[in-house]
Subunit: 142 residues, 2 copies
DNA sequence: CCGGATCCGTTTCGATACTG
DNA sequence: CAGTATCGAAACGGATCCGG
């Protein structure tokens, strides 16, 4: 299969990644819901098709925003883990959630997993750092 | 023509807008380059096709992220102006630019209009406020 | 069952030509 | 200049298949 994406054109990388509904959903659910397996993602509320999911995971691997590992206790299961580069997208995700909450009052359930919102608005910077540190503690055990 | 977008589903609004390469490009160029006319957008570096541009402007109007006006001194020319809701996306854009600069070193010209980067990294919050205030001063004259 | 890959009809994109 | 129409190409996404 040909690449469906153009890593050969780095100047548009940021928009390939963030300017795409599905990569954004995947990254958001990794950070906020700690999704890790193919199954986790394919069962998410946003109902991504498996072929699309597959193509996006490849793209994110290619960009080194995530990496692929085996579960230490279950060598069968593949898991996808955010790299530092991927975790660095946390501020973008959080700002998007804050915007969504403030400006799309009707319904923002897609972007808001919990009642963490107050905490976010209270001190955004520490909330972001906390998310990143918690993520690393849970998933970066080597 | 049928609507190409589904405003009937507000729960995915944020991703319709930000999870789309072109709406993101349009908003970014409004904030950073003060693009205002159809021509401005269609001549931007990213080379958006006129039909796509047209559909995205309609979508952004529908979401009230921009509004359409006539130039006061030239009743012929349509201009598109960010609303408050649209301007509230500035933090998302800026965070994306910062991420792009820090993590896609190869080439980030698409997202970086000027050498304002140092200023951003120095004090992000005031830079964002400044961008928004400047935008209003230039475009919100009634 | 899980992690995908393949197939295939439908939708959307996007380059260009065209119109008022 | 500000869009709209056209049309082939690409992407989507539901269903299905398949190896482990």
């Amino acid at each position: 299969m040909q690449n469906q994406f153009r890593c050969s054109c780095p100047c548009t990388s940021a928009l390939d990644i963030v300017g795409d509904k599905w990569t954004l959903v995947i990254i958001k659910d990794m950070i906020l819901l700690n999704n890790r397996t193919f199954k986790d993602f394919s069962e998410s509320d946003e109902a991504i098709a498996t072929n699309i999911l597959s193509s996006r995971l490849k793209m994110l691997l290619e960009y080194e925003i995530i990496r692929k590992e085996k579960l230490p206790d279950n060598k069968q299961k593949n898991i996808y883990i955010l790299t530092q580069k991927g975790l660095n997208l946390t501020p973008v995700i959080i700002d998007l959630i804050i915007w969504s909450d403030g400006n799309l009052r009707e319904n923002h359930s897609t972007l808001l997993p919990t009642a963490q919102l107050d905490s976010v608005k209270n001190d955004k910077e520490s909330f972001i750092s906390m998310l990143i540190e918690n993520y690393k503690k849970r998933n970066w055990k080597r």
